[in-house]
Symmetry: C2
Subunit: 226 residues, 2 copies
């Protein structure tokens, strides 16, 4: 894997400091929030019965917090609500990096890592704002189109928040690193193949009533591309 310079714009705590290829590291709040917001879902690491686990889940940033949610019956959420140490990571892949050598092949990506503990979100207004954030994160503007949570649904849902505190971003951008090496004399194509997330043709639910138009949120999303 190869390196390209990135500016370090703020000091990092020792635990989140990027040690390998420190030029790939960023610690500024704007970059941290940007990666959190661009990624559709996160992976959560935590320890259960002495063993590390890594699970994917949807997340949403609300101000200084990153929220996750799930069933009140979830053992994972209960453990995290009880203050277990956690690591929340969001990774956005942007491209395949093709060099002339196998060794210099890489990927362009942004990955943000947050260390900390979750707290239970209990305030009713904050919980509702959390629900709205999750819904609008999937599809911007969707919250205003749908039925809001009932009392029963709210009761069945745990929302947890982790403050953006100890965090770092690792990022790679740009072309392969072998332009200025003897490998560049080879007859091998080198460059970057961008990776894009695209939306396919919306598939109406089999039970969708006749005569209901595509939702404006979906039309905006699929027309704009990703």
């Amino acid at each position: 894997m190869s390196t390209r310079a990135q500016r370090v714009t703020a000091a990092a705590s020792e635990r989140v400091r990027v040690r390998r290829q420190p030029k790939k590291a960023r610690y500024d709040r704007t970059t941290i929030e940007s990666v959190l917001d661009r990624g559709l879902f996160c992976h959560l690491a935590f320890v259960h019965d002495g063993h590390p686990f890594c699970i994917p889940t949807l997340h949403a940033r609300v101000g200084d917090d990153v929220l996750v949610h799930g069933s009140t019956a979830s053992r994972t959420l209960r453990a995290l609500a009880d203050g277990a140490d956690a690591c929340l990571t969001v990774t956005v892949m942007r491209g395949l990096v093709l060099a002339r050598s196998a060794f210099e092949h890489s990927a362009n990506y942004d990955s943000v890592m947050l260390l900390g503990r979750f707290r239970l979100v209990e305030d009713p207004e904050q919980r509702l704002a959390g629900f709205a954030a999750f819904t609008n994160k999937l599809i911007p503007g969707r919250w205003d189109e749908v039925r809001q949570p009932s009392r029963k649904e709210l009761k069945a849902t745990t929302i947890l928040a982790m403050g953006i505190g100890e965090a770092s971003v690792k990022t790679r951008s740009g072309p392969p690193d072998d332009d200025a090496t003897p490998d560049a004399d080879r007859d091998t194509w080198a460059g970057v193949v961008p990776l894009l997330t695209a939306f396919g043709e919306p598939e109406p639910s089999p039970g969708l009533r006749a005569g209901i138009d595509l939702a404006p949120s979906v039309r905006r999303l699929t027309e704009a591309g990703a």
Copy 2:
């Protein structure tokens, strides 16, 4: 988050058994390998200095093993090579699930979780096969187009393998779960918006020599779509 039935085709170890919404679980080898192979990269969870960490990295499956690699100087890889417990998770998002209520919004996805420990791959032939697997995983057929690793590059690279043993897949497919509920009477569009990975226009490296055609591997990839 909502549930749709999935068949459980084999017994699971207690640690990887999916407890929440067990109908979403799969434990058969074909499904496990399919998700490992479809995902471009994985997230690795491990414990360092008592705290869980979650980092993204490229992986490649070779037979019964999942390989990861990195610099011999990487502290993470050293810890994992020393037998630290680890969890390797690959998640493939397939679609946004839009219900009539906020509560039933969800995502269609496949996520495979492997628990275990890594071992150092030391055999020179296996290490070379590992390099080939990483290169061809990024872009099928690329290995035959590029310069193979030098002795120095091989020496600088650690390759670790985890056997596919304790593993489970969690998966969600299909339309939203509220077709047969009173919510279906609402005037709200409901359905699935597929998420696709697309490849953008290949960007030649600034140092690419004149007259070098796009590599056949890249042409195949971008013509086929993802």
